[in-house]
């Protein structure tokens, strides 16, 4: 197990290195010039060519691209993700200030999606062909295809503007006002939870339908176990591996969705920071954010692989 984890972490480092290279190159291939954007935004249109060159030199943008990459990577290894050319502040500080906000929304969404999605899948499989099954299948198909931004706007309209049950947008720290925090997070969390919920429900249904016909489930009934023990202990636990995979795969989708949701609901998280950084071509922020997201995805994949061993004792880690 330890060997497996060490090997996977080393593989993750290689992946991170490749991701960092790709993103470093990709953002520089975008049309436009960040220095010109800074000048335009700061009303410095009369700046001389010498001053512009000095500014380029200050941020290392006059060096060859491979040297820029080596400098940036050296900084990353020392915990320095660079400095924003717009705000002149360290990228790491801002990312780690906003990361807990995105994390809170994301974790609530995944939890809600899992806690609601899995039982829905179980109910659907248990009542196969009945009206409730058709309804759940129909709703999960909608859940997987519905655009997050559209759902966000609809929820805002209905629950925020018409019914006035929850605030339309904004974010309050739970340490400041827990009730307000929960009220403000309700809609964004539901929006983000829809996809993992639908995906988990669909996969659970599919796995359960396969497992419910296994002899060990019949054996469990023959033993005289209560039906809920048969369903949850014998059937569901054996159908969990594909469900764990689905939940694992829905985490990057949730991270991607957070960029839209944070923009729609005006949440000062990493997603909104990423959108702003891409729009203004703030290289340092884009690189830092994507590196952190890649790290989160890789760690999630590792956790998913470890969860397989918990779900099925036949799986051995080498």
């Amino acid at each position: 197990m330890t060997t497996f984890i060490i090997r996977r972490l080393l593989e993750s480092l290689v992946t991170l290195l490749l991701v960092s290279m790709i993103i470093f190159l990709a953002i520089r291939l975008l049309p436009g010039d960040p220095i010109q954007t800074v000048i335009a935004q700061s009303d410095l249109s009369g700046m001389s060519a010498e001053k512009i060159a000095e500014l380029r030199h200050q941020y290392g943008l006059d060096k060859p691209i491979y040297l820029q990459y080596v400098d940036w990577l050296g900084g990353v290894l020392h915990g320095d993700l660079g400095t924003s050319i717009f705000t002149n502040t360290p990228v790491a500080d801002e990312i780690f200030r906003r990361l807990p906000i995105t994390f809170t929304v994301g974790i609530w969404a995944i939890l809600l999606g899992t806690v609601v999605g899995i039982p829905l899948g179980v109910i659907s499989a248990n009542r196969r062909g009945k009206k409730i099954d058709h309804l759940i299948v129909f709703l999960t198909n909608i859940g997987i295809t519905v655009p997050v931004f559209w759902l966000g706007l609809i929820l805002m309209l209905v629950f925020g503007l018409y019914l006035r049950w929850v605030p339309v947008m904004g974010y309050t720290s739970p340490f400041e006002d827990l009730v307000m925090h929960l009220r403000q997070l309700a809609m964004p969390v539901i929006c983000l939870a829809i996809y993992p919920m639908a995906a988990a429900a669909r996969q659970t249904r599919s796995s359960m339908l396969e497992v419910l016909h296994q002899d060990y489930v019949r054996t469990a009934r023959a033993k005289g176990l209560k039906e809920n023990v048969v369903i949850y202990k014998h059937a569901l636990k054996n159908g969990l591996i594909p469900v764990i995979t689905t939940i694992g795969l829905s985490i990057p989708v949730t991270v991607g969705g957070s960029t839209v949701i944070e923009t729609v609901f005006n949440i000062p998280g990493m997603g909104r920071l990423a959108v702003n950084a891409v729009q203004s071509q703030d290289y340092a922020y884009v690189q830092g954010i994507i590196l952190i997201i890649a790290l989160m995805v890789l760690l999630t994949n590792l956790l998913v692989d470890l969860a397989y061993g918990w779900a099925d004792p036949r799986i051995r880690y080498r």
Binding site: Q214, D215, Y216, R218, T219, A220, R221, A222, K223, G224, L225, K226, E227, V229, H234, K237, N238, A311, D312, P313, R314
Partner: protein, 337 residues
């Protein structure tokens, strides 16, 4: 229904199990598959009653429906005069202490997530039998009884061979001291050498605990070795029921005769002429009129296609569903060729 005077442990009365078939774009109801069709038989305390027949004849469905692992379409199953189909969920759950099942696949019938000790102890937990330490003691006893090392109780099923897994299934089935065990093709998936060990174990356990077996199989050699009585099924119906020796020596139904002729016999003087049945088994969703076997029967007469033969007793303990049985008790029936 076997000519025995004592009361049956289990009485199956007019049991039917049909599976609905939906077809077409709008999932319209088609003809149901008549897996078991109006089957009646009695199982007596301490005996081994075998049910044989080709794949798909409904023999496994009988065992599963009888234990209400499948819900019946019609009929009754009386266990010690209690109608199992009239019981509610909780009452049926309690009744499961008295009847257990061993499935064919030793790889599929054990939960891969549970340790062997938990698999065997789980029925005891479900029925609140004994304390934790008493249950563990019982698990170890049972493992020894079925020929497994009790020190392996902490292992998972995938760490055992097929034969060992089937022994675990037997130990699990025995844990609640049931009276009746349904062996649903319990040795079919095992190697021949392992089969004989498991069959001997089943016989020993029957002697030791006074068990009653409903032994479902398609292997007539195994059945000959183990059974006291044999029921032969064809297309969801019982076509013959008889003591094992009478049935093997002188089958009364042409289908039984054909099945017996297919048993490999190493001694040339004991070999029967092989009867190769023509055509395929008809669909259980659309069985033939009259006698279900008439379309393949080498002895069929014109009226066989019109009238359904009654399942009748032709000699004490010998039942057959045939208009022209091959034997009537001890006298050979003459057939018009």
């Amino acid at each position: 229904m076997n000519g025995t005077e004592n009361k049956p442990l289990v009485s199956i009365q007019h049991l039917s199990k049909f599976f609905p078939v939906k077809k077409g774009l709008f999932r319209k109801q088609g003809n149901p598959v008549k897996a078991v069709n109006d089957l009646s038989l009695d199982i007596y305390d301490g005996e081994t009653l075998a049910i044989v027949g080709e794949s798909g004849c409904g023999k496994s469905t009988v065992g599963r429906t009888m234990l209400r692992l499948l819900e019946p379409t019609a009929g009754k199953v009386l266990y010690e005069d209690k109608d199992l189909f009239a019981l509610n969920g909780e009452q049926m759950r309690q009744m499961r202490q008295h009847m257990q099942i061993i499935f064919q696949d030793p790889f599929g019938s054990l939960n891969p997530r549970l340790r062997v000790k938990d698999i065997i102890a789980e029925p005891l937990v479900a029925h609140k039998v004994g304390s934790r330490s008493e249950r563990m003691k019982r698990v170890k006893e049972l493992m020894e009884v079925v020929g497994l090392n009790a020190e392996q109780a902490d292992r998972y099923p995938h760490e055992f061979s097929g034969g060992q897994r089937q022994r675990i299934s037997i130990a699990r089935a025995l844990s609640l001291n049931p009276k009746l065990i349904v062996c649903d093709e319990a040795v079919s998936a095992l190697d021949v050498s392992i089969q004989s060990q498991v069959l001997n174990l089943l016989e020993d356990l029957q002697q030791q605990f006074g068990l009653t077996y409903l032994f479902i199989s398609h292997n007539l050699s195994v059945v000959h070795h183990l059974a006291d009585r044999v029921g032969v099924m064809y297309l969801g119906k019982l076509v013959e029921l008889s003591g094992v020796e009478e049935l093997y020596r002188r089958p009364a139904h042409p289908y039984t005769e054909a099945l017996l002729s297919a048993i490999p016999e190493p001694r040339p003087e004991h070999r029967r002429d092989r009867i190769v049945l023509q055509g395929d088994v008809p669909s259980p969703a659309n069985p033939p009129s009259g006698c279900p076997f008439h379309v393949r029967c080498p002895h069929a007469q014109p009226d066989c296609g019109q009238n359904v033969p009654e399942f009748r007793e032709i000699a004490p303990g010998r039942w057959v569903a045939c208009h022209y049985p091959l034997t009537t008790g001890s006298v050979e029936a003459v057939h018009i060729q």
